[in-house]
């Protein structure tokens, strides 16, 4: 490397570091202000807390009913994602294998909703949920995600399953495997890397989703998700920034921890989902 290009790299590096610091500074400000008193936020917002206090966090934790709300969000995310994985892996695999007109039609029917914005059928979705008596319930919310998340996931599974050799299935069938065993023991394990992508995309989506929970659970106090609780909580506290920042911290931290642990696979999954989708 020449001297000139070394210097250039140094400049780029420095620029990126400075820009990144500026870019992430809003999150840093959230972090420091969650631990300040109201008076201190109003007088000195930019510096580190002079008297470090966890009182805001404690109050907010209690007011939001954090453990229950967290559990609700977890239930919706887990049931939602598991269901999507089951129905999309089965459907996507079979539609990749069977090459008839009907199969092609089913595939198009299943992926067409990717082109329909959620906001253009949300009003009537509420009515469907009311008719089925599943609105206001966490498991009802989770089941609706099956229908909303399946199209994208089917698309990914179908594309992935096309690349799996047929021979394994044939020999498994000759060995006396039934269809259920064939899928659970032979095929599903082979779809593993696609399942990872599908899991990452759907967990991140459902965990952070706000609009569907607002429509389905909005009025109810008992079954709120984190995003929903944060919204009503923040509306109620108006400009009490110390509480709002504490709520933000409580919601960001779990996601951030998961991200730091699984950072490599999350980035891989997001890119894989996008490049194929």
């Amino acid at each position: 490397m020449s001297k000139k290009s070394k210097a250039l790299h140094g400049v780029i590096q420095l620029f990126l570091i400075l820009f990144l610091l500026l870019y992430l500074s809003p999150l840093f400000l959230v972090g420091i202000n969650a631990f300040k008193s109201y008076q201190e936020i109003m007088t000195d917002v930019m510096s580190l807390p002079s008297a470090f206090t966890c009182d805001n966090i404690k109050n907010v934790f209690h007011d939001m009913k954090y453990p229950a709300t967290f559990l609700n969000t977890l239930i919706a995310t887990v049931i939602g994602t598991l269901g999507i994985i089951v129905i999309a892996s089965m459907g996507g695999y079979k539609m990749a294998r069977v090459k008839t007109r009907y199969s092609r039609f089913c595939f198009l029917f299943c992926i067409a909703p990717m082109m329909i914005p959620f906001q253009s059928f949300m009003l009537t979705l509420v009515n469907v949920a009311t008719t089925l008596h599943i609105n206001g319930k966490i498991w009802g919310l989770a089941i609706i995600y099956w229908g909303l998340g399946a199209p994208m996931s089917i698309f990914l599974y179908q594309g992935f399953a096309k690349g799996i050799p047929l021979e394994l299935e044939e020999s498994a069938l000759i060995d006396g495997c039934n269809q259920f065993q064939l899928f659970t023991r032979i095929i599903f394990p082979m779809l593993k890397s696609c399942t990872a992508t599908v899991t990452i995309i759907n967990v991140m989506w459902i965990w952070n989703d706000f609009l569907l929970p607002l429509l389905m659970l909005g009025g109810r106090k008992s079954s709120k998700t984190l995003q929903l609780a944060a919204y009503s909580f923040m509306g109620q506290y108006k400009m009490e920034w110390q509480n709002i920042m504490s709520a933000a911290i409580l919601i960001i931290i779990p996601a951030l921890i998961l991200y730091l642990i699984f950072q490599k696979s999350i980035i891989k999954g997001v890119v894989a989902g996008a490049v194929k989708g």
Binding site: L16, L20, M46, M90, Q119, P151, N208, F210, A255
Partner: protein
């Protein structure tokens, strides 16, 4: 005998197919298909959403939309300005940073991961964080630095608020687009760049003549993704500006929500929903055709 067993086999395969595919088809029909068809049906009717009865009124909802509804026209205008703004800024910035990250600097993985962090936070929380930045923090910066830029009413002025929603949205999604562009640039063969370098092409020239044409698939995907997302935008403004001041940052999606849930005009809201679907569909088709001819092989 033979024909019979063949028939049986065909029936068995059909049953198997149905067994695998039925759950997906069932849930998609129930939670997307039926609501979508209902929405089209109610868009031609007058309906308050609660009552069992609704009244057929033909195209009245659609006519009123464009002729007699300043709120919807303003939502259309805002959504388009917002979409054009975010799509241009986020894609240009993402390509720029992806190119910097691909210039063989140290800690590329770290930068990519760090830029992605705002993406793991929900848009509602992002909205509240930036409300805090635009009010309390800017106020403090104003008194420290005295710079006029911090004294402006970033969320209170109707034109500035539009700009603020664009900037916050870019801030939140930039990391995602950087990831996609970096992945695209990693697919560009290094020999091409090296031989162009030997031929005397400068870095800027190489970037525009080699990198850009070869990452067309990524550009096409990112344009598609960012356009679709910005036309649907809802959650960020819900918490950042609430659609205000006035209706200056009310998007189509938020207008649909308000029409139905605040004014109980479901039939009318359904007509707006159908319009949103048509807009997204038409723009997507145009994009697909536009980018079809532009992708080249390395």
């Amino acid at each position: 005998m033979q024909a019979n067993s063949q028939k049986q086999k065909a029936r068995k395969t059909a049953l198997e197919f149905a067994g695998y595919v039925a759950p997906a088809v069932f849930f998609i029909t129930l939670f997307v298909g039926i609501p979508f068809v209902m929405c089209i049906y109610y868009s031609f009717r007058k309906w308050n959403g609660i009552g069992k009865t609704s009244e057929f009124i033909g195209l009245e909802n659609y006519i009123r939309l464009f002729i007699n509804d300043p709120a919807f026209v303003s939502a259309l205008k805002y959504t388009f300005i917002y979409a054009i703004g975010t799509v241009l800024i986020v894609n240009v910035l993402a390509i720029f940073f992806a190119a910097l990250l691909e210039s063989k600097i140290k800690g590329r993985g770290f930068f990519r991961a760090a830029f992605y962090i705002p993406n793991i936070i929900s848009l509602v929380i992002i909205g509240f964080i930036w409300k805090f930045i635009c009010t309390r923090v800017f106020e403090a910066l104003m008194s420290i630095t005295g710079w006029g830029i911090f004294g402006l009413s970033w969320l209170g002025d109707s034109q500035l608020a539009v700009f603020s929603t664009i900037i916050v949205s870019v801030w939140q999604s930039l990391g995602f687009y950087i990831l996609i562009y970096v992945a695209g640039m990693q697919g560009v063969p290094t020999e091409l760049n090296e031989s162009a370098d030997l031929d005397g092409a400068g870095a800027v020239r190489r970037f525009f003549s080699i990198t850009i044409p070869l990452i067309m698939p990524s550009i096409s995907f990112c344009m598609f993704h960012s356009v679709a997302n910005s036309l649907k935008m809802f959650e960020l403004i819900f918490s950042l500006t609430g659609g205000g001041p006035g209706t200056s940052t009310t998007s189509i999606a938020l207008d649909i929500y308000n029409t139905a849930f605040n004014n109980s005009r479901y039939g009318y809201g359904s007509a707006k929903s159908v319009i949103l679907f048509i807009i997204v569909l038409v723009i997507s088709v145009i994009q697909v055709n536009f980018f079809k001819g532009k992708e080249v092989e390395a």
